[in-house]
C-alpha cells in the first residue's frame, strides 16, 4: 500500500485542489494565471480567463473589461472622475464610523462632536478626513465636469451620461450642504439658516418648502433630524443609484471618450489604431486604480497629519446671536453674490433653476459635431466665460464685498472675531500682561518694558488696533460711517480667574451722523489651555 503512494501524484493532487479553491475565490483565475497577472505576462489560457472574471464576479461585472489606450492618457482625464468616486467612498466609510458617535439632536449633537474629538481614538482624524474628503469631492466633481465639457465628451451617445452627471453634481452639493448642519455649531446653524431661507423665496410653494426643510419655522430638533436623515440615507442612496448608472454608461456602454485628436484629428492610421488598442482591466487598470487609491489616501493623511488641516468647529449654535459675517459654504458663494445683485426670488430661485436646466440641456443645445477645442470656439469661450463669472460672483458673495460695517465694529471684530482665528487669539497667554493700554497718536514701542522677555505679540496686536483707530480718526477721505472723530480707545487686560484673563476692547467716538458720543465694546475671555488652530 505504501508503494502505491506516489509523492509526485500527491503533490499534483494538492496543487490541483489549491488551484481549484483559488479559482473559486478569484472567479476564474488559476494560480499560474495569478502569477502571470502579477508579473505582467500575457494570459496563460484561452479564452482569456481575465475576461471571464467580469461575467462570473458581481463586483467585477460592472467594471470595464478594457479601455481604449488613447482614453487612458493622463492629460486627457486627469483621473478626475476616479478621484470623485474615490472621495465618495472615503465619505461613505468615514461617515459610517462617525455615525456611531453622533447623536442628531440639538441638545446632544455638539457635545457628541466634542467627545468625538477628545475621547475617541482617531476620532478627530476621522472627522478631518470626512470634512476634507467632502470639500475634495465637490472640487473634483466640478473639475470633472469642466474637463468633460472642454473635451466635448458629452456629445451624441454620451448625452445621457452628462445628464446623470448634472444630477450627481446636485447630489454632491446636497450631501455636502446637509452635512454642514450636523455639528450644530454657529457655522452650521447660520449657513443652513441662510440656505433654507432661500427656499422661502420660491414662488407659490416657498413657505411650504421652507417648512418641509426646516421642520418648523426655525431650524431646531425637527430640522436637524431631517438634514441628518437626508445626509445619511436619502442622498447617499440617491448617489449610489445615480453613480451606478453614470459609471455603467462609462464602463460598459460607451467607454471613456477618446481624445478628440484621435477621432477627428489628422493623424496617421497606425497612431489611430494604437489609440484604439485595448488596455485590459486585469491587470493594468486594476493596478492603476489601486495605485491611485493609495495615492489619494496618502494625500489625505499628509494634508491632515503633516499640513495640519483641521475641520472647523465653532461655538455651540445660538439662535439668539447672529454672527457679524455670515458666510455660506464656499461652493455657494456665487449664489450669495447673485443675491446681492437682485431680488431673492429672481436671483435665488429662478436664475439658479435656469442655470441647472441649461447645464442639463448642454448636449442638446450644442449641435456642433466636433469635439476638438479649436473647432468649438463658441462653446469653449462660453464655458470659460461661465467659469470666470462664477469666480467673480463668488468674490462678490464674500462679506468684504458690498457690506459696510461701522468702523468701530469692523476694527474690533477684525482683531477679535466672534469665531475662528484673529490677531488677538494668537497672543500667547503669558504675553497678555494685565494693564490698561490707551490708543494715542504716539503709541509706545514696547508695552511691557518691565518684563525681561517683553510681549512682542501683544505689542504688535495693540499697535494694529492703535493704528487702525488713529487712521479712522485722522483720514479725511473716509465715509461718515468709517470715521471715528475724537476717539477714545482702550484695550484693557485683567486677570480674571485662575488661568483666565479678560480682554476688553472699547472705542468711543463722536458719531458724525447723530452728533452723539457713541461707543462700542467687546469682552473676550481667554483661557491658558484653549488650543486655537
Amino acid at each position: 500500500m505504501l508503494k502505491s503512494l506516489n509523492f509526485n501524484d500527491l503533490r499534483q493532487k494538492a496543487v490541483r485542489a489549491i488551484d481549484n479553491r483559488v479559482r473559486i475565490i478569484t472567479a476564474g483565475l488559476g494560480l499560474d494565471e495569478l502569477r502571470a497577472v502579477m508579473r505582467g505576462d500575457p494570459p496563460t489560457e484561452k479564452p482569456n480567463p481575465r475576461y471571464r472574471v467580469h461575467t462570473t464576479s458581481f463586483l467585477f461585472h460592472i467594471r470595464p473589461r478594457y479601455y481604449e489606450k488613447g482614453s487612458t492618457i493622463f492629460t486627457h482625464t486627469f483621473r478626475l472622475g476616479f478621484f470623485t468616486s474615490f472621495f465618495f467612498f472615503v465619505e461613505l466609510i468615514t461617515g459610517l464610523i462617525l455615525m456611531i458617535y453622533y447623536t442628531p439632536s440639538p441638545e446632544a449633537a455638539y457635545q457628541s462632536i466634542l467627545e468625538l474629538e477628545s475621547n475617541v481614538f482617531f476620532g478627530k482624524l476621522l472627522r478631518d478626513m470626512h470634512r476634507l474628503g467632502a470639500e475634495a469631492m465637490v472640487i473634483f466633481t466640478a473639475l470633472h465636469m469642466l474637463r468633460t465639457y472642454l473635451t466635448g465628451s458629452y456629445k451624441k451617445e454620451r448625452s445621457f451620461t452628462w445628464f446623470t452627471g448634472v444630477i450627481l453634481l446636485g447630489i454632491t452639493l446636497g450631501l455636502s450642504f446637509s452635512g454642514y448642519l450636523l455639528p450644530w455649531d454657529q457655522l452650521a446653524y447660520w449657513a443652513v439658516t441662510i440656505g433654507t431661507s432661500m427656499a422661502e423665496a420660491a414662488p407659490l410653494l416657498g413657505q411650504q418648502l421652507n417648512l418641509l426643510l426646516r421642520g418648523a419655522p426655525d431650524i431646531g430638533a425637527g430640522g436637524l433630524l431631517r438634514f441628518y436623515l437626508a445626509h445619511v440615507v436619502l442622498l447617499p442612496l440617491g448617489a449610489i443609484l445615480v453613480i451606478s448608472i453614470h459609471y455603467y454608461k462609462v464602463s460598459r456602454e460607451h467607454g471613456i471618450s477618446l481624445p478628440a485628436r484621435f477621432e477627428e484629428g489628422n493623424v496617421p492610421p497606425e497612431v489611430k489604431k494604437n489609440a484604439k488598442s485595448r488596455v485590459d482591466f486585469i491587470p493594468d487598470l486594476l493596478t492603476h486604480e489601486v495605485f491611485l487609491t493609495t495615492l489619494g489616501l496618502l494625500a489625505l493623511l499628509v494634508a491632515i497629519i503633516s499640513f495640519g488641516y483641521s475641520a472647523p468647529l465653532e461655538h455651540h449654535a445660538n439662535p439668539q446671536q447672529t454672527p457679524l459675517d455670515t458666510k455660506a459654504p464656499w461652493y455657494f458663494w456665487w449664489l450669495q453674490g447673485m443675491l446681492k445683485l437682485g431680488d431673492k426670488t429672481l436671483m435665488g430661485i429662478i436664475l439658479p433653476t435656469i442655470i441647472v436646466l441649461l447645464l442639463i440641456a448642454v448636449p442638446y443645445l450644442d449641435r456642433n459635431p466636433h469635439r476638438s477645442l479649436f473647432k468649438r470656439p463658441i462653446a469653449v469661450s462660453l464655458g470659460l466665460l461661465s467659469v470666470m463669472t462664477l469666480v467673480v460672483l463668488s468674490y462678490m458673495g464674500l462679506p468684504v464685498y458690498g457690506i459696510e460695517t461701522p468702523a468701530a465694529t469692523r476694527i474690533i471684530q477684525d482683531i477679535a472675531p466672534e469665531e475662528g482665528q484673529g490677531p488677538l487669539y494668537e497672543i500667547p497667554f503669558d504675553q497678555l500682561q494685565p494693564g490698561v493700554y490707551t490708543v494715542s497718536e504716539t503709541p509706545p514701542d514696547e508695552l511691557c518694558p518691565t518684563i525681561d522677555f517683553g510681549c512682542p505679540k501683544l505689542t504688535e496686536v495693540f499697535l494694529e488696533f492703535n493704528n487702525r483707530v488713529i487712521e479712522a480718526a485722522t483720514n479725511p477721505n473716509l465715509s461718515e460711517e468709517q470715521r471715528l472723530p475724537n476717539p477714545e480707545a482702550v484695550m484693557v487686560i485683567e486677570d480674571w480667574q485662575q488661568d483666565l484673563r479678560k480682554v476688553t476692547l472699547r472705542i468711543a467716538w463722536d458719531d458724525p451722523r447723530t452728533n452723539q458720543r457713541t461707543s462700542y465694546e467687546k469682552l473676550v475671555f481667554m483661557h491658558r489651555d484653549h488650543i486655537r488652530e
Binding site: 489601486v290 496618502l298 480667574q497 469682552l523 483661557h527
Partner: protein
C-alpha cells in the same frame, strides 16, 4: 520596468508611508485627546465667563464676591467645601451648581443671610423652566464657577463689626466720613451690584437727565411725595440705607435688605454717605 510594476512598487511605498504616518499619529493620540479635553474645558470656562458677566454678576458680584444680605458669594472657600454638606447634596459640586442654576430657588435656604432677589429667591435659568439659557450654556457657566475652586478666599459669613452698629436712628450725629473708604465699602458691601452695575436700585451715577445721587439727596427730601423724616441730605441718605422702605423712589421695588443698621458701624455709614455725596 513596466508601468504596472512601477505602480505596484510606488503603491507599496505609499502604503508604508501612510502606515507610518498613521502609527505616528496614533502614538500621539492619548496625549492629543488629553489636550483636547483640557482645551474644551478651557473653552467652556471662557463661554461661561461671558454668560456670568451678562446674567449673574448683578446679584453674585462681578468676581463672585456676592452681595451681603442679598445673594451668597460663589468665589468662596465655604461654598466649595461646606455648602454641599449644609444642604445635604449627594452629587458633585458641579452638579449642584448646574441644578441650582437650571431650576433656581423658590425660597432661600438661608433667608436670614441671603434672602435673594425677591420671590423666587433665585429665578430658574434653564429654558426648560422658562429661563433664557440652554443646557450647554448652564454647563459652561458651571465650568466657569468651578474654576474659582482652587483660588477661592474664605469670606466671613457674618462680618464682625469694628464698632457698635449704627442702628436705625437717622438723627444721630455721625463721625467725619471719608469718601475713599466709602467707595471701597460700596464695593465690599455689594451696593454697586444694584446701584452701579445694574438698575435694580436707583442708579448712583448721573443718568438720563437725572443728576447723581449726591445732588438728588439734597433735593429729594424736599419733594412733595417724600414720605420719610429726613431734613438734611445726610439724614436722607442714612435713612435710605438703614430704613430703605421709609421712602421708595417711584419705579423701584422694596428689595433692598433692611438690616444695614445692624451690619454697618457709624463710621461705615458716614464713609458711605460722604462717598455718595461726591457723586454729583
Amino acid at each position: 520596468m513596466s508601468r504596472t510594476n512601477l505602480e505596484i512598487l510606488l503603491g507599496i511605498v505609499m502604503v508604508l508611508v501612510a502606515g507610518g504616518l498613521l502609527i505616528a499619529y496614533g502614538l500621539n493620540e492619548n496625549r492629543r485627546m488629553a489636550e483636547y479635553e483640557k482645551s474644551q474645558r478651557a473653552q467652556a470656562i471662557e463661554v461661561g465667563a461671558k454668560l456670568y458677566d451678562t446674567n449673574c454678576k448683578g446679584c453674585h458680584g462681578v468676581q463672585g464676591e456676592g452681595v451681603p444680605g442679598l445673594c451668597p458669594p460663589l468665589n468662596d472657600k465655604y461654598f466649595f467645601t461646606q455648602r454641599l454638606k449644609e444642604v445635604g447634596w449627594s452629587g458633585t459640586q458641579e452638579d449642584y451648581i448646574i441644578a441650582t442654576v437650571a431650576s433656581g430657588r423658590l425660597v432661600s435656604t438661608r433667608p436670614e443671610l441671603y434672602p435673594g432677589g425677591a420671590s423666587p429667591a433665585m429665578p430658574s435659568w434653564s429654558e426648560r423652566y422658562g429661563g433664557p439659557l440652554r443646557d450647554d450654556q448652564i454647563r459652561d457657566l458651571a465650568a466657569f464657577i468651578m474654576n474659582w475652586e482652587a483660588t477661592a478666599p474664605l469670606r466671613e459669613v457674618t462680618p464682625t463689626l469694628a464698632g457698635p452698629p449704627v442702628g436705625t436712628d437717622i438723627f444721630q450725629t455721625l463721625p467725619e466720613g471719608n469718601p475713599a473708604s466709602g467707595e471701597a465699602l460700596a464695593t465690599s458691601n455689594g451696593c454697586v451690584g444694584c446701584h452701579v452695575l445694574t438698575n435694580t436700585g436707583p442708579a448712583w451715577a448721573a443718568s438720563g437727565g437725572e443728576p447723581g445721587i449726591g445732588e438728588r439727596a439734597a433735593t429729594r427730601f424736599q419733594q412733595e411725595d417724600y414720605t420719610g423724616q429726613a431734613t438734611t441730605p445726610e439724614q436722607y441718605l442714612l435713612e435710605s440705607i438703614v430704613n430703605p422702605s421709609a421712602y421708595l423712589v417711584p419705579g423701584f421695588q422694596a428689595v433692598m435688605p433692611a438690616n444695614y443698621g445692624a451690619t454697618l458701624t457709624a463710621q461705615d455709614a458716614a464713609d458711605l454717605i460722604a462717598y455718595m455725596l461726591t457723586i454729583k
